[in-house]
Amino acid sequence: MMEIINEYVFSVFFVETLLNGLLYGGVLALLSLGLNLIFGVIDVVWICYAELVMLGMYTIYFMHVRYGIPLIPSSVICVMMVALLGYVLHRIIIAHVLGKAPINQLLATGGVLFFLQSIATLMFGVEFLSLGVSLGSFQLTEDIYVSKSQFVAFVVAAAAVAGMYFFLSRSYMGAAIRAISQDREIMILMGVDANRLYGITSAIGGGLAGLAACLLALQFDVHPFVGISFGPIVFMVCVMGGLGNLVGGFIAAFVFAELIAIGGYFADLEWGTVLAFCVFVITMFIRPEGLFARKS
């Protein structure tokens, strides 16, 4: 037993696995932040959230590879595009189902998921497109290398999460957004234009999806079904942290990423996902309001 532990756990590969999990957790945290914000404020789950990310990845691919725009301006365009998309999504669809049963909201955004996935197939085909950018890697210690694109993704994601935290806690608009998520009815009575706030929140949520798209495009190929490969993981992260609870979602992202990484280290990557989802289901039974729910 000890030998196995020595061989597997105190090995440089295991440290690398943990590190990869940590870096992946950063991107997951960014993804869950946008979804959580929208849920917390508008009380709607965007099942199609990962598909917005997918469209963002296509945007940056076309800007950078087809039109030759440098990476940074492409990223800015990508963030703005997806932010606009988030706003439009809210205005033309979500606004109409706001008062309906939660199930109908879920299904309406599910319809958008189908639509976006297939429109991407229709317009861009099913082949895997790569940004073709390699940032290389740097040496952390004697035998541990870290991929730069993963590292950049982690740093930008962490900065964005911190930025969102300050925006929500310090700015006037942030205060308004927090207030409406705490009490929907009273804020409207006090003369707040809820629709405007919802629109802005949707745009911010979309912008965060766009940012995540830029970071993911550095690491993964884009294809119409890329959304469905990480979408469910993002939902589970949000639910595990408590839907609408930004800090909980942030911590849950790292728990989830590490579970996938560790499962993948001892067996296949699929088993890592299975492990993470099983832990999720068990967590739900023990703490239905999420791991980090405040006692009310």
């Binding site: 789950v45 669809i93 109409h96 189902v97 309906k100 049963a101 939660p102 199930i103 109908n104 879920l106 299904l107 309406a108 599910g110 319809g111 958008v112 998921l113 189908f114 639509f115 976006l116 996935q117 297939s118 429109i119 991407a120 197939t121 229709l122 085909g125 099913v126 119409p224 469905i228 469910p232 939902f235 589970m236 639910v239 839907l243 067996a267 296949d268 699929e270 088993w271 996902t273 299975v274 989802f277 099983c278 999720f280 289901v281 739900m284 039974f285 239905p288």
Partner: protein, 329 residues
């Protein structure tokens, strides 16, 4: 009961279909529609009470893969393998349902927990690729010379399978009706309105929900097994996983959750739409200038959003509601 003779006449007509020279292609489409209708009906027996499960892809996968694996690896005839797989799916429904209902996981949360089940089953099938073929798919081995084998539940002749699928579909509708007429229906409707209040007046909430969930899971697993035995090929994309779970829910919503034939109408709409577009893809290419892969799902997605906003009862549900309204006026 003036409707009964009409229904029997319709059923007689459907039984006659393979014997009046319907081309094999149309027979194939009808079999596919019947099998999926059965699966959708299976989902709707619980879905109509607000129990929106995104985990039915998992139950379907268990039914299909369970039957095929037991046949190939253990030599167990599907006549035993199908019931065993159905029991297995029921067991999974119990395993996931009991804690869900006991700890009052409802609405969004129930949908997402069941979605996790879809992911788990889909990934396990891919991860155990040594036994299940992974994402490349899996084929139940043939038995006997001609391919026809009652023992192996393999019927290359479309007529045979059409009659089997038709019988299953009718049984599915009868089950739906029985649930509709049962006391459980009132209990479950009360639960979906207000869980605490119905518990207070003596409804056994956990038990009623569990019963309907297990029934639904077992039905869906049977649909998976039938699909497997008919196509003699299954893959995670066609019978298991997240995509199938979503497809099941959305087809039922399109047809109508709250009516007996709603799921069937949903199956007809979605399958015919996909087939028409698939066949005419060449002409559409000439028209549009590119090959419109994914056009069916594009239209389907738009339809779905419009349905939810404007026709939340689905196509058939809305027509029936209008007819009732018209009769009153």
């Amino acid at each position: 009961m003036t409707r009964l003779p009409l229904m029997l006449l319709g059923l007689a007509g459907l039984i006659a279909v393979p014997f009046i020279g319907v081309p094999p292609y149309w027979l194939h489409i009808m079999i596919i529609i019947l099998i999926w209708s059965f699966a959708y009906t299976g989902w709707s027996v619980m879905g109509r009470f607000g129990l929106v499960s995104l985990g039915h892809g998992a139950f379907m996968g268990i039914g299909a893969y369970g039957t095929a694996l037991l046949w190939n690896h253990a030599g167990l005839t599907p006549w035993v393998g199908i019931p065993v797989s159905m029991l297995l799916a029921g067991g999974f429904a119990l395993l996931i349902g009991y804690p869900c209902f006991k700890y009052k996981i409802v609405g969004h949360y129930f949908a997402l927990v069941t979605l996790a089940l879809s992911v788990i089953v889909g990934q396990v099938i891919v991860a155990t690729r040594k036994h299940t073929g992974g994402s490349l798919g899996y084929t139940p081995e043939p038995h006997g010379g001609e391919g026809f084998s009652i023992y192996a539940f393999q019927f290359p002749e479309k007529t045979h399978f059409y009659l089997i699928a038709l019988a299953a579909w009718v049984v599915g509708l009868i089950i739906w009706r029985m649930v509709d007429k049962s006391m459980s229906r009132y209990a479950l409707e009360a639960i979906s309105e207000d869980e605490d209040a119905s518990a207070a007046v003596g409804v056994q909430v956990t038990r009623e929900k569990l019963k309907i969930t297990m029934l639904s899971a077992v039905m869906t697993a049977f649909a998976g097994a039938m699909y497997c035995q008919y196509q003699l090929f299954v893959s995670p994309d066609t019978v298991a996983g997240v995509g199938i779970s979503l497809q099941i829910v959305f087809a039922v919503v399109a047809g109508g959750i709250y009516t007996q034939f709603g799921p069937t109408v949903g199956a007809i709409i979605t399958i015919i739409l996909a087939e028409v577009l698939r066949i005419n893809i060449g002409e559409l290419e000439g028209l549009l200038g590119f090959r419109p892969f994914g056009l069916d799902n594009t239209i389907y997605g738009i339809m779905l959003v419009l349905f939810i906003i404007f026709l939340p009862r689905g196509v058939l549900g809305s027509i029936q509601a209008r007819m009732k309204g018209g009769a009153k006026a």
